[in-house]
């Protein structure tokens, strides 16, 4: 992963952005808005992952094409018939609707990919812990145990293979199943034993001895407040104009949508674009800043 500026912001700032981007992305079906969301999410993904983003893009490209083509195949509504297949109409409206759907899906997936890179498990736990404190510790413990269990399961089945108790050539399906069950039950008793030790370790360190606080390593500095204010303004702008009908788009049976002449549509699109551009902007700004700093040396 490349150096990412937005990650260094407070988890609350991060989550506001992603909630905004993903929820708006799902509701705003207007093609212009979809294009904005797609472009911005891809741009952000590139600043986070660099060349590795191409790999994910390939899958998304396939998904995009599938969505665009499949929708008109099943959706026969629409007035402009492009051609007929098996006697069924293939309409322009359904095609455009499919393209918009595909675009929306791809952009949401991109935002989730960015979310995964930025919102690490500890940030997620922090946000969750703010809402339900007791759950946050459980989540943290689960996140620690899962990889542990996977490792141990592997260890047990390998140990059994090395004494010839599993993986024999003559083994049939039933035996394989039975072996799997044995490994699982061994795993369980092992995990229970470990659980007792963990419980002891928790009590030995004063768990349950009184009121507990939640510690977090995040700082909520001024730049977070500024960024949240800016995000708030842009979000409000986008939502307001959308409510005013700026993002209105209907595809079926007729394509009917607001266009750039409408001030609500124009302003909303700009606010939306700026909002989604924020993290990418932070990254670019930082890159330029360092380049300038270096050139001064």
């Amino acid at each position: 992963m490349q150096k990412e500026e937005f990650t260094t912001y407070h988890p609350i700032t991060n989550i506001i952005f992603f909630l905004g981007a993903i929820i708006l992305g799902m509701f705003l079906m207007h093609p212009v808005y979809v294009v904005i969301s797609m472009v911005m999410s891809l741009a952000y993904l590139f600043t986070i992952k660099g060349k590795k983003a191409f790999k994910e893009l390939a899958y998304m490209g396939i998904l995009f094409v599938l969505m665009s083509v499949i929708n008109p195949i099943f959706n026969r509504m629409g007035v402009t018939v492009l051609f007929r297949y098996l006697g069924r109409p293939f309409t322009l409206e359904a095609l455009i609707y499919g393209i918009a759907l595909g675009g929306m899906l791809v952009s949401i997936l991109c935002w989730f990919a960015c979310y995964n890179a930025v919102m690490t498990s500890d940030k997620f736990i922090y946000i969750f812990g703010k809402m339900i404190p007791s759950v946050s510790l459980i989540l943290s413990m689960i996140l620690r145990l899962i990889p542990n269990f996977i490792k141990k399961t592997k260890q047990i089945s390998q140990a059994r293979q090395c004494i010839g108790m599993a993986g024999n050539a003559s083994e049939n399906k039933m035996e394989k199943l039975r072996n799997g069950a044995t490994v699982l039950s061994t795993m369980t008793s092992w995990a229970l034993e470990g659980g007792i030790i963990t419980a002891d370790s928790m009590r030995a360190r004063g768990y349950g001895s009184g009121k507990k606080t939640n510690f977090a390593i995040y700082y909520f500095e001024k730049r977070n407040i500024i960024l949240i204010c800016v995000m708030g303004l842009l979000l409000a702008g986008t939502i307001f104009t959308a409510v005013m009908g700026g993002a209105h788009a209907a595809f079926i049976p007729n394509i009917e949508m607001t266009w750039f002449g409408d001030i609500n549509m124009f302003g909303g699109a700009i606010a939306y674009a700026f909002f989604l551009f924020l993290p990418t902007f932070l990254n670019l700004k930082e890159k330029i800043k360092w380049r300038v700093l270096r050139s001064r040396i």
């Binding site: 943290s140 004494i163 010839g164 108790m165 993986g167 050539a169 002891d200 370790s201 360190r205 507990k212």
Partner: protein, 588 residues
């Protein structure tokens, strides 16, 4: 006033029919003392430590009491107990609670209800003191065993306890990580004045550093004194705890036993041992400086049991090579040990021999046959077997007996029948086979216990018994002495010797230099993905100056190749005899 005072403490578990786990224990531990608690497994060490923290005390009948600063421990509230008495357990993995290093450090402080600022400062302090800052943001799953245990220690120290209890903290660590850890504990004791109570198998690293050594046997304290006196006492009593003493102490008393002369003060460390040896040979030359040994014969057998030739392996195309042209042969019917640091490819080599991992270049031959020519499962069919590092990974049943029977399931019976028809001889019934292997591994008294209820050394032997039921010709051992105390090591070695005598080839990977020196026929050094050298132990260790036994480090300036304490004692005595003879001749 004494920090911790244990007065006439007796304790028995409810299921033990009145057998005492602790009997009439009285101890006084002063502020800032470093106390080492030793004794065989099951002597009551851990039971005693658990009594020092009420949340860890199991149910049972208890008499007498433990006093913290003059107050009965039960009357000290939980919060004070949690913060003043820190407790580090044996298993580095299970005692970690959260998924991030920083969160783990803060966990205890969260429980004590400190505010953000205090926690932040304390965590920062601890991370700096223990050198954790470079992996502060990491997932705990990415850490090595040594790092995990250090994290556990740091997380406890963040609560600023004045008493630190450690229950065999290094038994799961390799020697280098273990001595790092113990040095940190010593540093805490010296720099912060924290009272330390520690139990350990590896006395070598902590014996000399302790202010007081407490020896326990069958729930009783049999000795409690400063280290030098404890050594003398154990020798006098001819206690089997003496086997756990550091090498210099063992050598000193071994020599003192036979040689009737003044030997000066008992040495506790290698450094003291060196000057002690110098002093007893002062002005005289040690004329006999080597023992007769069998020279190492390389590649003399035409068909080695295991043979690796130019084996290269890496996990993925883009990852670095783990094995880089590994080449070595293991002679049939011998014990071959290889030593080396972590991450040098030792475990990978074992997995390659087990056909778990496939090298991308080079050949592995088992019993003269290419490993790829073995059918799936055929390799482990009465041919090769591996004892895993953690014996628990082999236990799947409720009792030891059932676990052993699992190995002789229906498939095994069918195979035996077939053999019977083919060869026409009568087979040993299954019960007898279990009895036989149980006798060999000395686990007859454990057959009805649950495999999780027995000690580490016993688990190791049960696991070995289970492995042996496959009748292996080649036995692979991965760190067989990890977490086992010295008596069990002796027992384990005796079993290995018996197996060797019956023609089994044994290949083991170990960090335990002393064990390899004593019992292996050949020792190899693994480094950077390959076997660098291999030789008979005495030659191998005599050539090394760091990676060698303490007996060798202690005596290398006088003797050429004394590598075990027995060698050293033998050489000292032989020289004494020679000197006496000379003096005698001169007199005549």
């Amino acid at each position: 006033m004494a920090r911790i005072e244990i007065k006439n403490l007796s304790f028995s578990y409810p299921t033990s029919d009145g057998r005492f786990a602790l009997k009439d224990v009285s101890l006084t531990i002063e502020e800032g003392q470093y106390v080492t608690l030793c004794g065989r497994s099951g002597s009551g060490k851990s039971t005693l430590l658990n009594q020092l923290k009420t949340v860890l005390t199991p149910n049972g009948n208890k008499e007498g009491g433990v006093y913290l600063d003059g107050v009965l421990l039960e009357d000290v509230d939980l919060r004070t107990q949690s913060s003043t008495i820190g407790y580090v357990m044996q298993n580095p993995d299970s005692q970690i609670v959260t998924d991030k290093v920083w969160h783990e450090l803060a966990f205890g402080l969260e429980n004590l209800g400190y505010d953000q600022r205090t926690i932040r400062t304390r965590v920062a302090e601890m991370a700096s003191y223990f050198g954790i800052q470079t992996w502060f943001h990491r997932d705990v799953n990415e850490l090595s065993g040594g790092q995990k245990q250090l994290l556990n220690l740091a997380a406890i120290m963040a609560m600023q306890p004045s008493v630190l209890i450690l229950d065999e903290p290094t038994s799961q660590l390799d020697p280098i990580a273990a001595s790092d850890f113990l040095n940190t504990v010593k540093k805490i004791n010296l720099e912060l004045g924290t009272t330390i109570i520690i139990t350990e198998h590896r006395l070598e690293d902590i014996f000399h550093a302790s202010d007081m050594v407490v020896v326990m046997e069958k729930g009783k304290v049999i000795a409690c004194d400063e280290p030098k006196k404890v050594g003398a006492y154990l020798k006098e009593q001819n206690s089997d705890m003496f086997a756990a003493m550091p090498t210099p102490v063992k050598v000193y008393y071994g020599v003192a036993d036979k040689a009737k002369r003044d030997l000066g003060e008992v040495p506790l460390t290698v450094r003291e041992g060196r000057s002690w040896l110098t002093s007893i040979f002062e002005g005289k030359k040690a004329e006999i400086n080597t023992l007769p040994i069998n020279p190492y014969k390389e590649n003399e057998t035409d068909m080695p049991a295991i043979s690796l030739k130019d084996v290269w392996f890496r996990y993925e195309r883009d990852l670095p090579d783990i094995l880089k042209g590994t080449t070595f042969n293991v002679e049939k019917g011998s014990i071959f040990a290889f030593v080396g640091g972590n991450g040098t490819g030792k475990s990978t080599t074992l997995k390659t021999i087990c056909n778990m991992l496939k090298p991308y270049r080079g050949t592995v031959m088992i019993d003269g046959r290419k490993i790829s020519s073995y059918k799936k499962g055929e390799l482990f069919d009465h041919n090769l077997a591996m004892l895993p590092q953690d014996p628990k990974s082999l236990f799947v049943k409720q009792t030891v007996r059932e676990d052993l029977e699992e190995m002789l399931g229906p498939k095994e019976s069918k195979r035996l029948e077939m053999l019977e028809e083919k060869n026409g001889f009568e087979n040993v019934p299954l019960d007898e086979r279990i009895a036989e292997v149980a006798k060999l591994c000395d686990i007859e008294y454990l057959l009805l216990s649950h495999p999780y209820d027995i000690s580490g050394g016993e688990q190791q032997r049960v696991a070995l018994a289970k492995v042996l039921l496959t009748n292996p010709k080649i036995l692979l051992l991965d760190e067989p002495t990890k977490g086992i105390d010295n008596f069990f090591k002796l027992q384990f070695a005796a079993i290995l010797k018996k197996l060797k005598a019956s023609g089994v080839t044994i290949l083991m990977v170990s960090h335990d230099v002393e064990f390899c020196a004593k019992y292996a026929d050949t020792v190899g050094m693994f480094f950077d993905g390959g076997m660098i050298t291999a030789n008979v132990p005495s030659k191998f260790f005599a050539e090394n100056s760091f990676y060698t036994t303490s007996a060798n480090r202690m005596s290398r300036h006088i003797f050429k190749d004394a590598i075990t304490d027995e060698d050293l004692i033998q050489l000292c005595l032989a020289n004494f005899k020679l000197m006496r003879k000379k003096i005698h001749e001169q007199e005549q």
